[in-house]
């Protein structure tokens, strides 16, 4: 329901809090990645919200957050400042952060730069960098036989996401047709120009230099069977973040935070309890 103005843009977020009103509770920030929205995290709210205030923010241009319009100069620096400003505007000193895909990459950079604002960092299915051949040219990501930007333009965001709903990749590849339909509908809420322009910006995103700088408690949630991020890559992430923990989450593809929410949230809770 609420909105906040941060870094010059309006951001929508959901706050779910079933914590005891007579105790001070920590906040968990769940951050979605490319083309998605806070709605994709709904399964994470019940397991967390009895003990934590749960915030799900819609990234710039996504969900119900303000669309900057076509031709916006998307850049990682701005996305990081969006996050810092969001915390400042909400008066949140420090939080537990959970990010998936690009949300995880941003979280890693944020934690390296502003460790005092991050109580813990959880990286779900994070890529260390987005290799052009794997993603843009479609070596691993099908893109309907086109390159990524063309697929987004021709098929729309939902249409492109549907090409990814194959084993090893996106949620929606199994389960009911209604589930797949809902997922495609959600992807389709992202404006085409936002997806195309953000995609261009993240192709140059490499978080490797930041990983070794992270000093906050970190959990790597590694998908057991992601075609986009094989386990070896996730282990590399774990090695580069000193003191980090790694949990392998069994699932049919890349989006284990969604497909295997029960085990992902259990691993996350275990991690939070261990800090």
């Amino acid at each position: 329901m609420p909105d906040v103005i941060a870094n010059g843009a309006r951001f929508h977020y959901e706050l779910d809090d079933f914590t005891d009103p007579w105790v001070e509770s920590d906040t968990v920030w769940l951050q979605h990645g490319f083309g998605r929205s806070g709605k994709f995290w709904y399964q994470w709210v019940p397991p967390l919200s009895g003990k934590y205030r749960v915030i799900r923010r819609d990234m710039r241009g996504h969900g119900l957050s303000q669309d900057p319009g076509p031709g916006h100069p998307w850049n990682i620096e701005e996305l990081l400042n969006d996050m810092k400003s969001f915390l400042d505007e909400l008066g949140l000193e420090s939080i537990h952060y959970v990010g998936e895909s690009v949300g995880a990459m941003l979280g890693a950079c944020f934690a390296a730069r502003w460790p005092e604002r991050i109580k813990s960092l959880t990286l779900s299915s994070m890529a260390m960098f987005m290799n052009r051949s794997d993603y843009e040219e479609g070596k691993l990501a099908p893109n309907g036989g086109m390159d990524w930007p063309t697929a987004l333009r021709e098929l729309g965001v939902g249409g492109w996401a549907e090409t990814q709903m194959v084993p090893g990749i996106f949620a929606g590849m199994d389960g009911s047709p209604e589930r797949k339909k809902w997922l495609i509908e959600q992807w389709n809420k992202t404006p085409r120009h936002v997806a195309i322009e953000l995609q261009a910006a993240v192709m140059n995103f490499d978080v490797r230099p930041f990983l070794t700088q992270i000093k906050v408690p970190t959990l790597v949630l590694a998908p057991s069977n992601s075609a986009l991020q094989p386990l070896e890559r996730q282990i590399q992430v774990h090695r580069m973040v000193a003191g980090s923990k790694i949990a392998v989450i069994q699932g049919p593809g890349h989006e284990v935070y969604f497909d295997s929410a029960k085990s992902a949230t259990a691993a996350h809770r275990k991690f939070l309890n261990s800090i």
């Binding site: 779910d16 079933f18 914590t19 005891d20 007579w22 399964q43 709210v45 019940p46 397991p47 209604e178």
Partner: protein, 279 residues
């Protein structure tokens, strides 16, 4: 957060749903008892809201629901009308109802009159019989409970109820402070008013139990000063095909003292109901 107008007044309610969005989940309606509010049930939401839409309504004049005015003529009939209109306004065909104490009494009355609106009934610490001397924990030496409330004031009455074990002091002094403060939000007129109909013939739900047609779970407290385990067993025996779970807690308010046991019992009960709803 939201409110809805039913039977002429604004009812505040909480509406939480974290079920799969491509399905229509069944709804659980949680109804608190005298002097309390939907806030007292916040901890029940996370364990239930992955599977059910959970609605917690603030009773007339309680929590953030509108004060009906000191001249409001409290009656079971009106309180029931509030409830069926609440269901209508929310477009809820039928719900799983969890009522605590007086909330349970109202649940029996409503499901007796409108069985088609209730998929199931959970009676948490429902008093079977409040005729003297069974209500002495409520009258605390006064002629009746209304006199007690008027003389003690809301805060004083709450303290007395805590002493008696009708209201729980919870697991920490912080809880106690919070609970008393929350109860204090209720005006004296409402506290006195809502208690009165419990002593009218319409509140004698004992007569309705044998003809209840809704699957029922009795959550029986072991140490409530206003309802004995024997009374709870009698309730279970009187309602056709009802189920009983004994919840061993230190006070009448088992949903505060033993929430995990209560919720476990409710989830098990609900999962065993014959599924009649469509997805």
């Amino acid at each position: 957060m939201p409110t809805v107008v039913a039977n002429g007044i604004d009812f505040h309610y909480e509406d939480d749903n974290f079920t799969d969005p491509w399905r229509t989940a069944e709804t659980i309606w949680i109804q608190h008892g005298v002097g309390r509010s939907s806030e007292f049930w916040h901890h029940w939401v996370p364990p239930l809201a992955s599977t059910y839409r959970v609605i917690r309504r603030d009773q007339r004049g309680h929590g953030r629901s509108v004060f009906p005015g000191k001249d409001f003529d409290w009656s079971i009939d009106d309180l029931m009308k509030d409830m069926v209109e609440f269901l209508d306004r929310l477009g809820l065909e039928s719900v799983h109802y969890i009522g605590e104490s007086m909330g349970a009494v109202l649940g029996v009355a409503c499901s007796h009159r409108w069985p088609e609106r209730f998929k199931s009934l959970t009676l948490c610490s429902m008093p079977a019989d409040l005729r003297p001397p069974k209500n002495k924990a409520l009258t605390v030496g006064y002629a009746d409970s209304a006199q007690a409330k008027r003389d003690l004031g809301v805060a004083g009455w709450a303290e007395k109820m805590i002493e008696q074990g009708v209201i729980s002091r919870g697991q920490s002094p912080e809880y106690l402070k919070w609970a008393i403060n929350e109860i204090n939000q209720t005006s004296l007129e409402v506290l006195v008013g809502i208690g009165r109909p419990l002593y009218t013939p319409e509140a004698n739900v004992a007569e309705m139990l044998s003809t209840l047609q809704v699957p029922t779970l009795v959550l029986a407290p072991t140490k409530s000063p206003i309802t004995s385990l024997e009374d709870q067993v009698w309730i279970r025996d009187t309602i056709p095909d009802a189920r009983i779970e004994v919840i061993d807690g230190p006070t009448h308010e088992t949903y505060v003292d033993r929430p995990l046991e209560c919720i476990e019992a409710v989830k098990d009960f609900l999962s065993r109901l014959p599924s009649r709803s469509s997805l």
